[in-house]
């Protein structure tokens, strides 16, 4: 019923919360396709620069979005990075960001597919 990448119930929930108009949801999904990678690039540059606080906040931000859209694995990866941002070695953090990039890719793909199907 639910695959690893996207939890459909979150999407349903989001849909209900915003008033039940699928077009609104689609609009949001479109935003995510655009905003997600933007946040990721913020994370990447923060990781490169060693700006832990910026990394933490952008991870938090992406986590929050991922949750909205039920991107469970992405949200988990972001959360891990958010907590590790202050303490872990930068190298490990960069690895985490890399992982997030992969997860974001999967999530965007899956969400795009869902949007097509619904559409």
């Amino acid at each position: 019923m639910r695959d690893d990448v996207i939890d459909p119930s979150a999407l349903e929930r989001l849909l209900a919360a915003i008033g039940g108009d699928p077009e609104d949801l689609e609009e949001l999904l479109g935003d995510f396709q655009h905003e997600g990678p933007r946040t990721l690039s913020q994370m990447q540059s923060a990781a490169r620069a060693g700006d832990r606080d910026a990394l933490r906040i952008s991870a938090h931000s992406l986590k929050s979005n991922a949750r909205d859209f039920g991107a469970v694995a992405l949200a988990t990866a972001c959360e891990g990075t958010e907590h590790a941002a202050i303490t872990d070695e930068l190298e490990a953090l960069r690895m985490r960001v890399h992982l997030i990039a992969t997860e974001l890719d999967r999530a965007c793909g899956a969400l795009a597919k869902l949007a097509q199907r619904d559409g």
């Binding site: 119930s9 929930r13 915003i18 008033g19 979005n65 949750r67």
Partner: protein
Amino acid sequence: MLGQARMEAGPGAPMQGLQRLTSSVQGKLLAYLLPLVMISTIIVFGLFEWNARRSAEAQLHVKLDKLAEIQSAVVTEALWNVADEQIKLILAAVMTDEDVLAVSVLDERDRIVAALGAPDAFERSIFTARRDILYDAGDHDLRIGTLRIALSDARLTELARERLTLALILAGILMAAVVTATLIANSRIIGRPLSLLMASINRALSSEPRRRVDWDSGDEIGRVVTAFNEMQARQDAYETELRATNDDLERRVEERTAELAGAEATAQQARGQLTDAIGSISEGFALFDEADRLVVANRRYREIMLGDGESELQTGLSFEELLRRSARTGVFPNARQDPEDWVQRQLSRHRGPGAPYVQELSGNRWLQVSNRRTAEGGTVAVHSDITEIKRISDELKRAKEAAEAANEAKSAFLATMSHEIRTPLNGIIGMSTLLAGTDLDDDQRDFSETIVTAADTLLTIISDILDFSKVEAGALELERTPMDLGETIEAAVEIVASKAAEKDIELACRINPDVPAGMIGDPVRLKQILMNLLNNAVKFTEKGEVVLTVSSMMPDASQTPGETALLIFEVRDTGIGIPEGRMNRLFKSFSQVDASTTRRYGGTGLGLVITKRLVELMGGEIRVASEVGRGTTFSFTLPGEVAAIPDRASREKQLGAIRGTRILVVDDNRTNRIILCEKFRAWNLVPQGCGDPEEALELLVKGSEFDIVVVDYKMPNMNGFEFTSAVRERLKGTAPPMILFSSISPMEGRFREAVAEMNYAAALTKPAKSDQLLHALVRTLAPDEMLSPRGTRSAQAESVIKDDLRVLLVDDNAINQKVGRKILMRLGFEPTVVGSGEEAIDACRGDAFDIVLMDIEMPEMDGVTATRRIRETLPAGETPYIVALTANAMHSERETYLRSGLDDYLSKPIDVEALSASLFAARRLRETRLGGLEAADR
């Protein structure tokens, strides 16, 4: 005596024998005895001699007489015949007798006729005889002459001499015998025992062991010896005792001496050890006297202070001089720059000993110096090399920091996790609830209800586990705030109500009139306790009812604020009950009545444990009574201080407005009916209960006057709608207004529509909160008294729709902004959206917002800071209601946010119901302010 005699021996040898003689018992005895023997011998022999002489002399006289007689006769013839010659012959014959000295014959004229012998013999000798010589003349005797004889005593003398000799010999023998006997007897009877005694005494005197004198003669001496032996024995015993005492004393003296010697040795050893120890300790050690002159310093101290353990440190060296030497050696890097300053610093630290301080040594080594005052006013300095300790401590510190960071991360993870689980769950519940409110077919409704139930259960379990771990960790702190008891209790009941309705169980709540309106306590936790107990009761009850009763244990207690009240809460169900033997397991962690219960009813089994802990934390006590098959009653006590409830006044005013109202209560459930009637009576209304709708209809038709009718929806034979229609049909325009009670949420679309069509004065969900009920009554009967309407949370969601609240949404994330905006728009708001803390502050300055939804995690300025700045900027009466929005917290963080100046807290993803509640709270705040303004205007 002996000694004395010996001492006197020497001069006067002749005296010596006599002396010895008289000084001995024998001599004394002889001195007494010999004269006696001698005198008695002389007397005896004298008497004998005298007697012998007398008889010898008598014999001689007899012989003389005889001789004279015979011879006179012989001579007579010769004389008569004058024969002289013959006479002479006769005389010569007489003379042959050797005793005859002389003999003579005289004539009648005394002329000597014849004479023989010595002529003078007659004069000398006493033995003389004279005899007349008579001649027989026939007729007469004619004296013719005289015869004279003299005898010698020589023979007498001779005999006497012989006798004397004999007597002397006899006396000598006697004397010798007496002396011998005396000596022997003396030596046997006295001398021997005495010498034995003497020997014994001499032994004693010469300190040889005493010997018993063996002399058992039975006489005085024997008794003396016996007494002596006895005395000696006593003396022995006494001496033995004395010796024992002496020995003991000696032993003790020896022991004491040994001890003293031992102590001295120990002290000596200790001194030696101490000296060795001071010398060998790894710390530098030095003792200075009261004038800061060195008394003793070990090698290590010299090493530290002078860089060389071989350097000599003169006793009596002043500390200051020592410091100057140290400064010169360069051991202390700090002394290199300004040695004098360094010396002065050290001196001041040395003279005012305080906490140990750390000094750096050359070679990146570290020293801890501790100075202590001794009792004599001197100073002990201990210098410890703490290089290694410092290294370890630094490492430990780093490790501790790392561990703390890890622990914090873990806690944060746990918090997040629990929150992350709860957030989607809340979403599921909220959405499913919303879903149920939409147009669904039966299957869909069933599914959505199942989702709600499952999610609800999961949420309870997670909350339980979190609460439990908090309670177990002792981290649970109770709030102390005035709480509206009625509101708190009813809120709890309300939450459980839907579950009870689903199971078709009557849920009733009865608050006795003696229960104070407000009390100091923790409303959240009290609600939790009640919810736990009520949920439990509903869970284990298949049919019947669950009734919560609240009463005061002190009926006479005044309800004035500040007084102490003791409440008793009782949750009674008609469920399966608990077997007697299982009761004790009820309040234990992770334990339910039995395993099958767990399977059938689910749950963690933590609810009651938490409940019990909470009750105990509040100072109460929880009890359970149960009967299998009949039901269970949980009851707990709650002590507390009566508190004033702020909006009590308006409530009193409202109650005053509807006082005396006649109410008909139509409900088939007796408990509910009684509770409602009681509540109405407490409000000074005049209720009448009726269990049968047809009967009620009769009452109304027959003319009983009621101002208002409260009717239950679900009744056998005739439901609430039917009853209402019937009443209206029969009474037309005089039909009283009606309030509908139902277990079905008004959110349910079709039902809601039906209710709306029926045009009730109010439709309330059972069990109705007092405020809600009062509000409905007042709105119906005295609409003028309405100030601030209240409703259930579901009603809140409805009532805030299309409101004119001014909302500011602050979030840096574009998607979050959009989602938030869409949700708010759906709820009927036109939010202003900004992307940072600074913008939020600006927006608040420019526009008066009623509510700010503030994201916490933002770059540059976080939500907490922004909130603080907004509060600083705006006057207290104009600050908006600020709600934290975050994806990062568990319930406990709510308090953290509240302390940081935020009014409320919402977790992301945003739960629509929770958001509605916050919006409603903002609205109330605004109304309160407006009310205040209006009051001021009047």
